[in-house]
């Protein structure tokens, strides 16, 4: 049972981690809590849905429930959602930033943007639920006592690949280095000649793209609906804060811990209280390390 709970926790955690990376970047580089981030997950899932609607989920490849079309849909969704995030910044947050708005104003603007984005989804696609594929997969025993769906193993592997690629990007590319510099100290980065607008733009695009991948994964298990991102919002923030704002490994570990806290706790407490467990963990961590597990002391 414990092995299965850990496997389930890692799977849920992987999706939360992908979403939490964007939240974490937002907290540290853009310096505000972007509550509209969860809607980017929803939008990513719906954009992929449109592609799938035209191309079809494809003939199942091997044990997976979808074909290459689904992968293409995810790529298109990542690009378009990245652009959408950037457009959102241009329309809403840039203006506020340039006028020196209070960080709290940005937070409330994010709430407003989130509502608008969610209801535009309802307006276009309706309030109902959609599915990428009608196929139903059956779990396979990967280790004794641990059953997983092939799709889930794929999601896990792809998440790992994305995180490694992102780590390399942040460590070795110029933009990645500039992003880390901004995260450390925006003022110092500016003095050193970092293009603040450029870094901001890349942060939004990357956050949006990662959110789209997370949203598509979320939609694969198993449905796409307008509140799908919103219902994950608190988990995303818990993961980002738990790991420490601005830290890539922090967001990933934070996401995994949130997923594990939810799934493993079910073995010991009533599942009705599952949703509270990540936050108890969050409180416990913050009491010991207020800056989060991987966060830097300011």
């Amino acid at each position: 049972m414990l092995g299965q709970a850990i496997a389930d926790g890692v799977l849920t955690g992987a999706i939360i981690a992908l979403g939490a990376i964007g939240v974490s970047f937002g907290l540290q580089i853009l310096r505000f809590a972007n509550f509209a981030h969860s809607e980017l997950l929803t939008w990513g899932a719906y954009i992929a849905l449109v592609v799938v609607a035209f191309a079809g989920p494809g003939t199942p490849t091997g044990p997976l429930s979808f074909g290459w079309q689904m992968m293409a849909a995810m790529a298109v969704a990542a690009v378009l959602t990245g652009l959408l995030a950037w457009v959102m910044d241009q329309l809403v947050f840039r203006r506020l930033r340039n006028q020196g708005a209070h960080p709290l104003s940005l937070v409330f603007a994010a709430f407003g943007a989130a509502l608008v984005m969610r209801y535009v989804v309802v307006l276009i696609w309706g309030p109902g639920t959609h599915f990428y594929t009608r196929e139903l997969q059956f779990a396979v025993e990967v280790l004794p006592g641990i059953r997983m769906l092939p799709d889930q193993i794929f999601v896990l592997a792809l998440t790992l690949a994305v995180v490694v690629a992102l780590h390399l990007f942040l460590t070795y590319s110029r933009t990645g280095m500039a992003m880390r510099a901004m995260a450390e100290s925006p003022a110092l980065a500016k003095v050193c000649g970092v293009n603040v607008e450029g870094v901001t733009r890349w942060t939004w695009i990357l956050s949006g793209a990662l959110a789209a991948v997370a949203g598509t994964f979320l939609g694969l298990s198993p449905q796409v609906h307008p509140e799908m991102g919103f219902s994950l919002l608190l988990s995303l923030f818990a993961a980002a804060i738990l790991g420490g704002a601005g830290s890539l490994p922090g967001a990933v570990i934070g996401g995994l811990l949130v997923g594990l806290a939810e799934n493993v706790s079910v073995l010991f407490v009533d599942p009705g209280y599952k949703g509270a467990m990540p936050f108890l963990l969050l409180l416990a961590v913050l009491f010991v390390r207020p800056q989060g597990l991987f966060g830097e002391k300011q």
Binding site: M1, Q4, A5, D8, L11, T12, I15, G128, T129, F131, R134, L136, Q137, F138, A139, R147, L149, L218, S221, P222, Q223, H225, E227, M228, S231, L232, E262, N263, V266, L267, D270, P271, G272, K274, G275
Partner: protein, 426 residues
Amino acid sequence: MSVHKMLAALAGGVALTALLSVGGAGTAQAQGVACPVKIGGILPLTGSMAPITKKIAESAQLAVEHINAGGGVKGCPVQLVLRDDQGQPTVGVDAAKYLVEVERVPAITGTISSGVTGPIIASVTAPSRVVQISCCSTASAFTLDGRSQGYFFRTLPTSKTQAFATASEIAKRGLKKTAIIYVNTDFGIDMTRFVKEALPKLGGEITAEVAYNDNQPSYRAEVQRALAARPESLLLIGFPKDAVTIVREWLSLGGSPKIALNNSMRVKDFVDGVGARFLNEAFGMDNAQVQGPTVDAFNQAFLAKFGYDSQGPGVHTQYDAVMAIGLAMNIAKDLTGPSIKDAVRQIHAAGGATVGTGPDEFRKAVGLIREGKAIKYHGATGPLEFDANGDVTGPALVWKITNGEILVDYTISIEEMQALFKKVEG
């Protein structure tokens, strides 16, 4: 004029229209009873419930007319003193206090919202030992947690009817080991409790009870926990959107396709969401429409009186709530709360002569009661028999899914449900 006074005036007006004289008995003293006999009524005449209350109040008024035209209570005409609760607990409790302390009514009918009915039971009717019969409040705790001390009854079936029908169907299909996954709301908790009460007595076993909260991205943890004891079947109590996720994850993780579902899943969205081909062994329960001559008679009387049909929530159950009070008052040895409370249980006595709806049937009932004979009331909701807790049952239906079509498998009549209740509750 304060709002309260205005409402009192409004309620007084309604009471006057409900008062009909019975053959000059208006001022007479009969059997030591002061005429007219007052019955309290509490309904949300204003507020968000007002649109559905109109017909319900009319139905109560019709019942009072039928009682009066059929001989009244112990020779006296009946007067319904109706007060507004505005759908608010404080106003409702105030109204109940007025009825009990000022009008001195021994019985009250009301109200709609469980949130108002609960405080009235706890702070007025139970402590004052006044009978209360509701048309519409479903919260199961009222009749189970002892707060009513037996003074509260209701004429609409609660989730218990559906839960017992579910347990019966699971047992009938020979499924010995069942896991329950239920939504963590009053509805889900109630249903689970009732199934748990019934299933072991009908030959089934519950291997796990797992609560779930709505709007989660995944329910793998809950499903794994339900699957741990390797059950033969799943009973899923919840709402369609999350149920789609749960059923798909259940099947993916190797759960049995023999799945029992509650009435909320009797929708196409659910079947399409899960995939019709995975649901050919699934089945579900729902409440069924009552039919019968006494129901038709009520419908016709309502149409003739008001000029529109009696369709709508609470209309039939409200008529029976008032009729039950009228019959019980005739049976009771005196018009005190405790006597009426005991008499409510005798309106549907085993071996009694069947009486139905309308003035003539009421007159027949009064005659039988005077002769000391037992009666068996069949009302606007069919045979009306309160169980040990003050609840009634209703007919249910079993539905199945065949190639994506939701079909009624068969219906369980109210008599069969009553037999099932007796089997479970002893």
